[in-house]
Subunit: 229 residues, 6 copies
């Protein structure tokens, strides 16, 4: 979100809109695609900055939960081509946050939708590490982060958390520390046998692809870790 | 507000829109004209019901205060012809709440703006007791409360608080009780002399118009109560 | 909720109480029976309008969740005869929202409790399509929506969402669209076989009752769709 | 507030009620008399603890402001004998917070109202340093802080901020520091002449009572500091 | 929480800090150990009183939920020795709320961490009924509730809910009433057979320990109720 | 604020801290100097992004108002050298927002305080157009916006609103439009005579300095517009 806000500034090629607006001036319009962890956090910050935020997701139960969490500060829409097109056309900032672990992200926002967006609007595709959920997105780097398509600024840096290494290292350590300790104490094979949680996180072992979604996405042979061990 | 919500139902000729929406379906669009007590209370209830609310007022300081009070749940716009036209055109419900005590209300929403509103949208003009702040508004009664102009439902009942006599009687009594006591103890003339607050509330005395704004609006002679007593 | 608020107006036979009150005047007292989707949404709008809201449910875990969601703006009570009687006796508006899919709604509020309610109070029984969760409720229509029992206004229109067809059609479409597509592509029998979700939504097939709760409620023979296909 | 909450515990003679309640059990009922700084802060903490809070004040504009600040989490009532009696009779905890600087506090809650309160309810009279705004209140000390009247626990310790010296010293220093510096630099007489703010805070000078409200309350002669200097 | 707030007062040996602070004076620092029901409720009240609250828990998903519930008013930290030590060292009040049903609570806050806390800080160990989750905690009673270790006030009364019997009796009854009715109607053996929920709540039967966690904690023989019946 | 957040990213030389944190990882620490319009808006956005925000101001009444507006999501401190030094030393981001219209901004944060800040912390001095309220601040431009002092990133671009021209033009127009109309209709001299509001906004006229604060700050001769006309 803070990247999106920054790229809306004139200096970065954006429309020169302040997300939060000013009393008497309408705030920026943010469209968040996907109500998972990425999308929800983006929406939280956008709402916190004072923007008018619309979030789209396929899952109606998730929209209901988000409605409870945001308590009227967020507008939810069922995700379908009609709603996505209308919402992106009105947006100053689009956040692509649809990630399916291990699989290629579906292209929710098509090139034709992007062509109908406002000049100077900004797209941040957080799903770019899985190929992006916006058709016009292609991976960029922290040193050359953005490019234009139809006048729309695209920011699609891979490994975005690297921008805030202090916070992201702590977050990653919080999530992995207990696994690391067990791995160190037991060794890899024993740990994989003892704890199915490890097996779920394993991508390759002994030359075999052991993660089903990756194997399918890349059309390679899959072998389950149980069979190997 | 609850009147506006009710008239949006199909039965009453409205667009059949639920103000609060449902998770996944956009909420109703409410446009409140005026940020005084009437407009602010209408906006509070509209926000509370889950609608998307835009409030327009001339006074930027008031918009800033409203921004503090509503904390991101309300979009404020500076009131000018361009913004009023745009906001009413998008609205499902327009609340006219511009009242200038004693004087005729200014016509903020013109007939041409009303003609550009959605079919089945609803207008509630709370300023109708002062002539209304919407050009197409004319006074109606609780028994025949609404009419259509260009397919837009108009609800312009005079003395609206009469619909909830229980609450409005208590509210009126809270505000007037201390004055009544003083009036009863001192008599009218003495009370008017002793307390300039009384004089401010006086409309006629001894056959003279003693309220300046009313005298000007009706182009009659004004005589100050100080001069009379 | 907006129906309940409207029927509290004097014109509709109610007590003439404004749900949100006015600073210095107590707000209306709303009692919501049931903490499912219907009850929670009613409570949200009632809280948003500024009413004092009490919600009763049997499930303590659900009350805990509601406490988290409403964050002190709602008072929860464990549902039992003592609490229901006390809460309805104090209420200006009672919303009956206990629905058990396919089965007759249990009668939570008895006729004797209704007889102890305030004159001019309003009951809206949203469960009326399943027979109602309030003993004195009987189905009414949008053209003749309300009646009095012991001075208490009853609004028990079947198919209430029909009042806001615009919103309810979108909501229904959001929920059903994907099923419709699959049905159109596969045909009924194939779709029912392929997806147990379809089977769960089926009421009758080939002359047989295939929904267990309905069969039990109506004491007819039940036949599972698996057996038929 | 935290004192009031503590005294509601059984150990201290109170009703054994937890102010915040538990999901499914009604919270405690707190009645705050007065919407000035003392009352508002008490109400904030009571609301924060999850209690059901009613605040009474004479000033309708102040009630309107409090309504904006508390945003539906507080019920405001116009202060009059009828409302005070009803509110205290229902309360588990009454906070007396009506202070008129320099003058004796008016007795808002009469002994007869106290006699109608619940057994084990708690009264905390913060106005006790000005004589108390509750008729049955008499000053107590931190070592013997409470007593019973009609089964109602009274906590009326003078100089209550002394319980949290750390916080109250900082608060006092924040408010007085700039005056102290000026006093040290200029001397008393020069400072009193140069800054009318000093004069307003002066109680006695050279043997004379220089604070009007105190002089009136104690029926002694008043001499303005301007006349003395 | 209200106990913790009270013990921070000078009278009770605490630091004399008001949890909510005063505008311009920093609020008290509260550290809550554990994000279950006990910890979450303590955090809610602490946040409501205006304190600066940090909550630690092992479970990152739970921290995410709490983040949604508290909406920026609470700081969450992953629970590990480094974070616990840092958070307790800065705290004015530590609430120990880590309970594992039936088992001894783990010692999250060590004696060495307590020795680095501020003089006059307060510890309330709600887990004391399971042995306490703070190493320096030992059971006390309502009549002699607190003691000092390294200048830190310890409040570790067993059966704390007894302080508010009115509320806790209702809460307990809400949770148990339906079981009691079934027990009365069916008798113990039949009820235990018919409803596995009963069996889960059973500690001893016919001289045997039937609760696994207790049996393990006390190293006694365990016999399942299914085997006995 | 969004500039400050961006400069905390590693790419821009900052500490690599995400202002909002992540559940389980502490958020960034923001220190806002000044509680006027600039500081309050910065604080709102910082709070909205999930940061831990401390705001310092001299005016205790303003701190009280901010406390009401932010409702526990902001920590206020009385502004004095001790508090400023402590707050900046802990901050990841310092926003300087002390502006006195027309006059040079006072240096609230001294160079020695900056030297005690964390490496990689960020300072944004919004008061730079009046000389800055941070001693180490010197004006920069949008093309070369930042520099380091003691490892602390300084962003002190003059005319910051130019980054979002769309929003700032509308905001400026809202505030000035009515004056422009009157100026166009009446001419400069007549408008200045008719409306003292114009005179207050005038800086120079006919070769004279007509704004007192500017005249004093620059030690030039002041002539009031009344005398000139």
């Amino acid at each position: 979100m803070q990247i999106g806000a920054a790229y809306l500034e004139k200096e970065h090629g954006g429309r020169g809109v302040l997300l939060g607006g000013v009393p008497g001036v309408p705030p920026g319009n943010v469209c968040v695609i996907g109500g998972g962890i990425v999308g929800t956090n983006a929406a939280k910050i956008a709402v916190g900055m004072g923007a008018k935020v619309t979030l789209l997701d396929l899952n109606l139960n998730r929209l209901r939960e988000l409605d409870d969490i945001f308590n009227g500060k967020l507008f939810t829409l069922a995700s379908n081509a009609y709603n996505v097109e209308r919402a992106t056309a009105e947006a100053d900032l689009v956040i692509g946050g649809v990630l399916i672990p291990g699989a290629a992200a579906p292209k929710i926002v098509t090139a034709s939708m992007v062509s109908r967006m406002k000049r100077g609007a900004v797209i941040v595709d957080v799903a770019i590490d899985q190929g992006g959920c916006i058709e016009t997105a292609r991976p960029t780097t922290h040193s050359d982060p953005s490019y234009l398509v139809n006048g729309v600024v695209h920011y699609c840096v891979t490994n975005m958390p690297a921008a805030v290494p202090n916070t992201s290292t702590l977050a990653l350590t919080n999530a992995t520390f207990r696994y690391v300790v067990r791995l160190a104490n037991m060794g890899a094979s024993a740990a994989l046998k003892a704890d199915p949680g490890f097996a779920e996180g394993l991508n390759t072992f002994d030359g075999h692809l052991t993660y089903k979604a990756v194997a399918e996405a890349q059309q390679r042979e899959f072998k389950s870790i149980e069979d190997i061990l």
